[in-house]
Symmetry: D2
């Protein structure tokens, strides 16, 4: 769908929710093209994502969105409208490995993901050439001496570029709490293990020592607690005793870029609703 709206909504569960929401749309000739809904009966919560074709809408788009207020409030809902088409302004933070960055650039160029990469920010300059080839501004922010200043500088860049999504594409720095809070639900990390196994540093070495038969990667939202944010996507691959740590690193790269790419895809298509520690994901 090229023109339209995506509506994400969550509220306490009660009968008639779909009818009310769908009725609101149909009243103004907005057509539901896709509807995903989840009723969490254990917690009494309702979640929905609607893709709405507005090409025959009888009222101005702004009025349609504003008019939903009465209904949304009456349902005690949280909701969000996204106008299509759009491109999400996205910054990619890297250190030195480039496979996740390459994956994002490649999928963006192909048009697979509706994002505009505002900048690539590295605490090393390894990825500068890749950024140049892709025609994306690269910012090298030195963080060895004064980490706090570095994060301030990064935040300044994100603010200045009006960034909507921050992707930590193997950015080997622990984000400070204030940034985790500020970018809550807008900062995605790829961790190179099958969380919650092997939290922290050197997960492939940990996996090797433990002798696991599957390694993995986890794409998750960043929260102040390390590697404990809502999980968006995970991927695994089979490994054998003859694989050295360097093989796990090699095989893991494929898990990482695939889990991260899908995670970003779900996020930028508004297919995720964060529900406390968990991510409701309506995959496509």
């Amino acid at each position: 769908m090229n023109h339209g709206l995506i509506l994400k909504l969550s509220c306490p569960d009660k009968p008639g929710l779909v009818a009310k929401i769908a009725h609101y749309a149909s009243e103004f000739d907005a057509n539901l093209v896709e509807l995903n809904q989840f009723t969490d009966r254990e917690r009494g919560k309702f979640f929905a994502r609607l893709e709405i074709d507005t090409s025959k809408l009888q009222v101005p788009l702004e009025d349609f969105k504003a008019g939903f207020d009465v209904l949304g409030k009456s349902l005690s809902a949280s909701w969000h409208f996204r106008e299509l088409p759009y491109k999400m302004r996205t910054a990619v933070l890297v250190t030195s490995t480039d496979h996740c960055l390459n994956e994002i650039l490649w999928r963006t160029k192909l048009g697979e993901m509706p994002i505009e990469i505002t900048s690539i920010i590295g605490n090393r300059d390894t990825c500068q050439k890749i950024a140049e080839n892709a025609g994306v501004p690269f910012h090298h922010i030195e963080m060895k001496e004064d980490k706090a200043a570095g994060f301030q500088e990064i935040d300044g860049l994100l603010e200045a570029q009006d960034v909507q999504l921050v992707v930590l594409a193997r950015f080997m720095q622990i984000m400070p709490d204030w940034m985790c809070e500020k970018y809550h639900g807008r900062m995605i990390n790829i961790h190179h293990s099958f969380l919650p196994a092997f939290i922290g540093a050197n997960p492939y070495r940990q996996a090797y020592e433990r002798g696991v038969k599957l390694i993995g990667a986890t794409c998750h939202y960043v929260t102040a607690e390390l590697d404990a944010g809502p999980i968006i996507e995970q991927e695994v691959d089979r490994v054998y005793h003859h694989h050295a740590v360097s093989d796990l690193v090699r095989l893991g790269r494929d898990c990482e870029r695939s889990a991260l790419a899908r995670g970003i895809r779900y996020h930028v298509h508004d297919r995720i609703i964060i529900d406390e520690q968990r991510a409701i994901v309506f995959p496509d």
Copy 2:
């Protein structure tokens, strides 16, 4: 959900369908617990499956179902209501291998699948003991001499037992056209290859000769054209050059029983809508 309705519906696509259907339900305090919908924009078709909690329904269930007629017809829809809880009366047809049969019996006993196995029908008597242990009637129908008579006899049993679903659990006989038509959409087969590769006999031998690196199994509805009915589910497993045909048979068994079990599950939970040559499956 223990009490309620499942509604499956397909109709030409047009705006406002979800609103109308959901409104009908909510008008009588029927609560949509799960809603899956698919708009086939290429073909202009709409498909939906609704799980409806009727515990607070304001009208008799029969009236609720009957009252849907006006709406359904106005949408030029095909639809079907299923009352929960229910058990689908199911016959399992076998020859001599028992892994698919065992899988069905085991999942049925566990309560994973809401089916009642009315009978196990074998053109050999190999599975008789298993049937006895499970407390299910076994019918041995000899088909070597007179196949046509055998199929007549099977049909007679299915009729007499009021069977709703026929599962060909590695039943090594080609069903006659008249049975394919009579049980259209109610007869499920498991084919031991990744269709449409290796149609017909000895697919594992074919796969071995071709040197494929993945083998598979396909669960599909039976139609008159061999192995060409709507595909419900497929499963694959990795194989290597050192695997003999007997290894492919062994590994394939796991693909077969898992694809068949999921296929049956989707069918008995009314999660499938057949759309000409394709099966719309809303997995759980």
Copy 3:
């Protein structure tokens, strides 16, 4: 191969090992049908498994095995010969769930696994009927009041039946240290999580709370440290936000029985060499 030997061997790595071992075999017209070898260059260790056809052996089998002593000792090796065909005497310990037990019984009956099930031992009597149908002795050992006595009784049974392999097929009791030591390398457990994530009780509940997108099962040797023994095999399946804990339990059953079945298969075919905390597995 119906008659022959399997040789498992591990020793410090040095040049010429394969030549020496293969030469010993060929000298007496023993034919290597399959040879798997792994050189752990990081640790300087050599591991090998050989399947040897002895149908044309020029010397008595006992002499062939005994004669290997000189070579084996000169290599500072640990090694083990297994004569084919054989059936490994195996006891299965259960509590109340039966899916892993059923899987073992089914594969045994099919001849997939060369084991003889000496007995099924349950701390509840739930699986008694299954044992009877399979024609396997069932022992109900009550463990609520006096666990220590229960374990003594189990050990007595294992001794009396000359059991070579103990399978904990969802046996919901923590084995005492002395049994872990006594049956080291001969006791296999299936843990219902993707270890090392979710050690201990209720892993599916833990997985649900954490919101993982893949659940798993781990087949491992039992050691005194809970769920920390050498991992033999792991399996995962994809889960979604709409899956309740009961769904994870259901989907996890398939991971459990498949990981356990493969794990047992590798063990009884002597395809595993335990190397401290890790299991070298040469899969077939």
Copy 4:
């Protein structure tokens, strides 16, 4: 291993093969680091791949290789020595899609695959910029008017650049028979379906129409019969009814690049022995 030899060998099976080959190596202090062997008992053939550390070799490498002649001939073997380290001179043929090309370039740059990309040859110029960024010569060979001349020109380039491996990275032209023969065992294609299903054009459209639940890609050696050469690697991904053909294309890209990358990896590491219609692959 940085310095050494890879020996690939196939011959009629008979007892003592491993002993003889390993003995030859050990006699001159060549150390077997990895040994993979496969005895095809059905066909009476023996296949092996040996990775040999020659750092302590007692004779010149050339002598070691030449001296193997007597043994090899006495076994009626075909064999091949590869000296490590090496880089395989590889040409990549493309049309307009770039995902497979990008994958190869990325893995080459990372050092994952020991290849030197001599040139990228396109029958369109779409990938020229990518080639330039990677510092690889790009040749645009127009093939609309005169295909035969185009293939002659390609062959001329491959000859001039002394190319050892030709990769058809979504090269949308059917190779002429004479090139298939000339580059037999040295030309790898990626077909965008799970062969032997959906041979020929538009496999994703075919898959969509058939309503399969898994799509795939197949990496194979090119032979004169279309899409019928020995299969090296296959990959699949799950698809759903709501996926349009364009989604299959998108999801298939990941199958394609991953199957192709692994296929090339196996080839350049000499892990493949072609046995008539089948490829013996010793994966790492």
